[in-house]
Symmetry: C2
Subunit: 289 residues, 2 copies
C-alpha cells in the first residue's frame, strides 16, 4: 500500500527538470508556457525555446506534452509509447447514447472477468482527474468467491444489528432504513446475495484519510472504471451498502487507519441485456445568468 | 428548489401500477420480473403476462422497460419518445481514447457556452446513477460574469484569511496549503482569475444534507456532465478550491441549510487544443484472488 503524495513528501518541489524540450522541433509558440499549471515552463527571449525553470515544480499532468503542436516536449517520467495522438472518433450523439445506456446491473452471469480485463479497467480508472494530479486513490480487487461472500456477510451482520437496534428503540418501521433493510435480510436468509448480487469481482477504492478530496478522487476514478467496463460489455453496480457507512468494509478489507474506503463496485458480465434507454426526471436546475 | 425524495415522503410506497404491460406483445419471458429491484413485477401462472404487484413500489429505474425484448412494457412516467433502442456504436478503444483525452482545462476562450448546450449537459448529467435512483442532486448554473467574479472573490477572501491565520500561528510555510495559497493570492492580486480561470460558465451541484450519499450522486452526475461536454468540444475543470471546504460556496450561492454543496465545475471552450494523451502512474492495486 505505497502511496504517492508528491506534495505531502515535498518531492513536488524539486529542481530536476522533468520536462525536456527538443530545440529542433520547438517553434516557440508558447502554448506549453501558458498551460503549465504551476508556471514552471518559462518563455525565453525571441524565438528561443522555453526552458523548464530551475526551481520549478511539476504536477506531472503532462499538459505541456499534450498541447505541443510539434511534439517537441517530453516528460522523463512518461514513455513515448504511452503518449498517443488524440483521435476524436466519437460524436456527441454516440457519447450521449453510451452514457444513457449504462445501467446499474444487479444480475451477473457466472463468467468471471479476466485478469487482463480488470487490469485494463484499472489502467483507465487511473486516468481520471484527481486533486492537483496527486492520483491519491488506491484499489483493492476481490475475485475470490469466499472473500466476496465474507464481505457480504459482514455487511449483512451490520444491517441486522442496525435493524434490531432500531426496532428495539421503537423506530417507526416505515423509516426508510427498515424499509430497505428488511427485504435485504429476508433475501439473504433465503440464500440470495442481495449485496454483491453474485458478482464474480468487486473493486474497492480508498484514499488517504487526511485527504479532504479523497472521496472525489475515488468516485470519479470508479466512474471511469465503470464506463470503460461498459464499453467492454462488463457491467457494474455501485454497492452503497458496502461502504456507506465505510467502517464495515474498511474493517473487513483490513485497511489501515491511514485510509478511508470511499467506493465499492460489483463487476461482471450481465445476465440480461438492456435494450432501451429510459427516462429520468429532468435535472433540477437553477439558472443564474 | 423542489426536491424529489420518493422514499422520504413515502410516495415510493404506492399501489398505483406505474408499469403497464401490453399482453399482445408480452412473451412471458420473465426478464422484467427478474430485473425489477424491489420485486414489484410478479410472474403469473403459465404463459400469462406478469403483473405489477398491487402493493408494489417502484424505483422508476426503468429496468423493466429497458430489458423487455418485445417492447411490451411502458412506464406511465416515461414518454415513449424518450425510450430509445440502445445502439452500441462505440468500441472499447474509442471509449478509452475518449476518457484519456479529457483533460482538466484551465484556459478558456471568450466564446460563451450556449444555453441549449448547457441544457444538454444537464440532461445527460441527470442520467448518471444515484442511490436507489432517487436522483438527489440539484444544479445551479452561473453564466453571469459579475456573479462568477463575486464567487471567485469570496473564495479568495477565504484563502487570504486562512493564509494570514496560518502564518500568524507560525505554520511551516512549506505546508502545502501555503504552497498553494500564495501563488493563488499573488495571481489574483495581479488581476488574473486563478479560481474559475475566466470560464464563461460554472455549474454547481448540491444534494440534501441529510443524504449520506449526496456527495456521490453529485460527483458522478458532474462526471457525466464533463464527459458529455468533452464530447461536444466544451472543456472543464473541477474547481476544488470553490467547494472544498463547502461553506464559502454554500454561503455565496445562497443555498439553504437543507442542502450541501458537493461539486463545482468551470466550463467553456478551450483556448488551447490538447493533442496527445499522457501517462499517469500505474494504478495502486492490491489483488485478492
Amino acid at each position: 500500500m505505497t502511496k504517492n503524495s508528491a506534495l505531502e513528501t515535498g518531492e513536488a518541489i524539486q529542481a530536476k527538470p522533468l520536462v525536456e524540450i527538443d530545440p529542433a522541433k520547438c517553434v516557440a509558440c508558447g502554448q506549453c508556457v501558458s498551460v503549465c499549471p504551476p508556471h514552471s515552463i518559462i518563455r525565453q527571449e525571441g524565438k528561443t525555446p522555453p526552458k523548464f525553470a530551475d526551481n520549478g515544480w511539476c504536477l506531472r499532468c503532462g499538459h505541456c506534452v499534450s498541447v505541443c503542436p510539434t511534439g517537441a516536449l517530453s516528460h522523463i517520467e512518461m514513455a513515448p509509447e504511452n503518449i498517443r495522438a488524440i483521435d476524436p472518433a466519437w460524436t456527441p450523439e454516440m457519447i450521449e447514447m453510451f452514457l444513457r445506456s449504462k445501467r446499474s446491473v444487479r444480475h451477473f452471469s457466472d463468467k468471471p472477468v479476466a485478469r487482463e480485463t480488470l487490469e485494463k479497467l484499472l489502467e483507465v480508472a487511473a486516468q481520471a482527474p484527481s486533486d492537483a494530479n496527486q492520483q491519491d486513490r488506491s484499489f483493492m480487487v476481490l475475485t475470490d468467491r469466499a472473500l466476496i461472500d465474507g464481505y457480504e456477510a459482514a455487511v449483512i451482520k451490520h444491517f441486522r444489528d442496525t435493524h434490531d437496534q432500531l426496532l428495539a428503540s421503537g423506530v417507526d418501521p416505515m423509516f426508510w432504513k427498515l424499509l430497505y433493510i428488511r427485504p435485504l435480510l429476508a433475501k439473504y436468509d433465503a440464500g440470495e446475495h442481495p449485496i454483491f448480487r453474485g458478482a464474480p469481482s468487486v473493486v474497492c477504492a480508498y484514499a488517504r484519510k487526511d485527504n479532504n478530496f479523497g472521496w472525489y478522487n475515488c468516485a470519479i476514478a470508479m466512474d471511469y472504471l465503470m464506463l470503460m467496463a461498459h464499453s467492454m460489455g462488463v457491467e457494474s453496480c455501485i454497492v452503497g451498502f458496502s461502504f456507506n457507512p465505510s467502517e464495515i468494509g474498511h474493517k473487513f478489507l483490513g485497511l489501515s487507519d491511514k485510509y478511508q474506503l470511499h467506493s465499492v463496485v460489483a463487476l461482471g458480465y450481465p445476465k440480461y441485456r438492456f435494450r432501451r434507454t429510459v427516462q429520468r426526471r429532468p435535472a433540477d436546475v437553477i439558472w443564474r445568468s
